[in-house]
Symmetry: C2
Subunit: 179 residues, 2 copies
């Protein structure tokens, strides 16, 4: 089974996002869960067989959500905000890339802006991973109406197989819509 098609690593795209919990550091609970599950159950110690591709989509209309109490008086104030968002996104990717380097798993990571559903679909078409891993908060039907589900959309529409890793019940924060 060595050589030939085996020598090309299986490319796993992992959709990652930031935590919505104020003060929570960087990666969302479900992103971290999906990533750690992938390492433990798929990649295991066979790091040379796989390559991880981290995609983080920054939601444009949520820009400035954390800037609720800031005052914007000049265009420069917005530049600071954009820079801060960019830095936050980079810190998020740094978390995953750092973890991969620790265990010797090859990886790539990048940021795109837009609607997560559309951007993920577009990036799957462009990058053509072997499969996509997405985390999910594992919300019930009632909660889903309000918060939407990127994972279900990907399962239905992505041009590659998709595996959804639900957040463990024990890992859910007080408000299950948080992540």
């Amino acid at each position: 089974m060595e050589g030939g098609a085996e020598s090309v690593a299986t490319r796993i795209m992992v959709g990652v996002n930031e935590s919505t919990i104020k003060g929570y550091p960087h990666a969302s609970i479900s992103s971290k869960g999906a990533f750690e599950w992938t390492l433990k159950k798929i990649v295991r110690s066979n790091t040379s067989s796989f390559k991880l591709l981290f995609l983080h989509v920054q939601v444009t209309d949520e820009d400035g959500f954390d800037d609720m109490d800031s005052i914007y008086a000049s265009p420069d104030d917005f530049k600071t905000m954009n820079r801060r968002n960019k830095i936050r996104g980079l810190h998020l990717l740094e978390y995953f890339v750092h973890r991969c380097h620790e265990i010797g798993a090859p990886c790539e990571a990048w940021i795109k802006k837009g609607d997560p559903k559309e951007v993920i679909l577009h990036e799957v078409k462009r990058v053509q991973p072997d499969f996509l891993v997405v985390g999910s908060r594992g919300l019930g039907p009632f909660q889903k109406v309000f918060v939407g589900t990127v994972s279900e959309f990907c399962v239905k529409h992505a041009d590659c197989p998709v595996i959804t890793i639900k957040r463990k019940p024990g890992e859910a924060p007080q408000d299950p819509a948080d992540d």
Copy 2:
């Protein structure tokens, strides 16, 4: 990364079914596709890291479908039919077990009777695989109304992550509902 949790193989349950095409030998196109995809993209040459668990659900109310032109005059005639169904199911599993032995991948296979959706859910609860792989014909919404989708049901309700492998467009038979 050797030893510890790494020494326990990742257990992959694969739902397999027979082809609906008359005369087509044993495994459905989508079952074979899902299985080969799992070998190529996940198991790769790391056969000792994984264990494949093949579940075949025999649909009870389809029993005798292939016996349309048979005449049943005594209870013994039905025994023959049941034996024939059982043999067909065993041949199906033989196909997958044989393939695993060829490449040295540990596996187990078994048959259950009942509604595929319910049985798969029940077996996932009982066997607790790390994830479930199911094939799908990749039908459009219009066709799905008539033929149902075991894969979508599993994605929604199974107690473990599920990965659905759609049949490639080039592999679809004349009637896409066939498999």
